[in-house]
Amino acid sequence: MPKRIDFMRSVLLGFLGLALFLGLWHGLSASGMVSPLFLPSPVEVLERFSTLLERRFAGATLPAHLAASFERFAYGFILAAAIGIPLGLLMGWFQILDEIVSPIFDGLRFIAPIAWVPFAALWFGTGIGGPIMIIFAGAFPPCVINAYRGAKFVDPRLIEAARMLGTPNHRVITEILLPASVPSIISGLRVSAGLGWQSLVGAELIVASTGVGYLMVMGQANVSTTTVMSGMIAIGLVGLALDTALRFAERMIQRRRGLEV
């Protein structure tokens, strides 16, 4: 029972925080101290948001823009995970690969995803390749780093046990390092999804003709701050949903192993 009460408490406090934030926002815009163009009121934004759900703006409704964004994101994110996780595990097991890859990787990962925009435009034009590349640039490093860390910090006794059982390299990676790294990999995926989703909007601001980012650019061009804010809210909500889904997956996996969290 205490667990349930704790949960209710945190939900209530969460709502309290949200209410305070909205109240402050509303008070500020209702006081007339700032022009509505500068800071639209939450009511106006909500109205605009619900209009955008059905009415087309910049070529599509808000859900359609979101769907286009999400598709790009999914490609980039899956590609990053599919390459990043195996690479990280391999680097964690084979010292030589670690030594070859690390210097390049450590240099490249400090370049903000958005900095790739000119090249994305140059190499892929306005096709789907550009945004995918930028999302990939954001989502890839956390996948590699967390898989690598997971593999490096496996209980050395488990590695010794595996070696004494005569386990070949490929099986050590798939049956020991990978499952041992799952918690680390999933927290990497959470960071990765966040960075990927953020980079996506950046990419769409420049190299796309659909998507939430594009919607926001068009909103800005039409001096419709409420549209821009609606886009922001949509991005926030989808990001929150993504993170919740990954956190849920993490908890399911931990529970299956008897590590109650």
Binding site: R157, E160, A161, A162, R163, G166, R171, R257
Partner: protein, 265 residues
């Protein structure tokens, strides 16, 4: 076969400027199917001895040989039972035991047969589908022993295998290990700091000194055990009451205490 030989083995850890001599001039031979226990105070390097045979670590000087061959890497012929069990938490009991057999490319049907046999021997049949965390410490260590035994190793290396268990469980495990070892003899190198355990289980007991670890004395238990017919007693406490047992135990205690006195003096 499975003859272990330490030939003037030394092991030094740390930087050259500040070396720590863990083992010095270790000479010891463990015969085929012989059960040898190494006892010593903590930090005396007894676990290092076992790791050298396992192939997890290598000597700084001298040689460690198994069947006259130097050890290059861990091999399933030299199976290890760890103090903290080291079971794979994401694999069931069955899958933990199966991994070594799969690595040796044993066919599925034979694998299942061997797994079933060892599960039965270790009283684990009902727990095949359980995950390690669902079992008690004693059960987990049984799985670890099964995982090593199923490979039919020449040498079994046990590093304080019962050290993490409570006293009652420990006794049960010791009795079971005696039954297993007498029925199915292997070359065993058993590391422990528990004197009774060493005397009860081993054919010979090697006493180690504190760092730098050396072998101070090797006691023959087997001849006494056979002369006094210890194995005819079912329970460990009955054996521990025998005068011959008490005598050996006291001898080892004294020997270890001298060490301790020397270290604190």
């Amino acid at each position: 076969m499975g003859v272990i030989r330490f030939d003037n083995v030394g092991r030094v850890f740390g930087a050259k400027s500040n070396p720590f001599v863990a083992l010095k001039e270790i000479d010891l031979e463990v015969g085929d199917k012989e059960f040898v226990a190494i006892v010593g105070p903590s930090g005396c390097g007894k676990t290092t001895c076992l790791r050298l045979v396992a192939g997890f670590d290598f000597p700084s000087s001298g040689k460690v040989l198994v069947d006259e061959q130097p050890i290059r890497r861990p091999r399933p012929e030299r199976a290890v039972v760890f103090q903290q069990f080291a079971l794979f938490p994401w694999k069931t009991v069955h899958d933990n035991i199966e991994l070594g057999l799969r690595n040796q490319s044993v066919a599925k049907a034979e694998r299942e047969e061997r797994i079933n046999r060892i599960l039965e021997l270790m009283n684990l049949t009902a727990y095949a589908k359980h995950f390690p965390h669902q079992l008690s410490g004693g059960m987990q260590q049984r799985v670890a022993i099964a995982r090593a035994y199923v490979l039919d190793p020449d040498v079994l290396l046990m590093d304080e295998p019962f050290g993490a268990l409570d006293a009652q469980t420990r006794v049960v495990m010791q009795e079971e290990l005696v039954r297993l070892a007498r029925r199915n003899p292997r070359t065993v190198l058993f590391i422990t700091h528990a004197v009774e355990e060493a005397v009860y289980l081993a054919d010979r007991v090697a006493i180690m000194t504190r760092a730098p670890g050396r072998i101070k004395e090797v006691l023959d238990i087997r001849s006494i055990r056979e002369a006094e017919d210890w194995d005819s007693y079912e329970k460990i406490e009955d054996v521990m009451d025998l005068e011959s047992f008490v005598h050996l135990r006291t001898h080892i205690w004294r020997s270890l205490r001298e060490e301790k006195a020397a270290a604190t003096a």
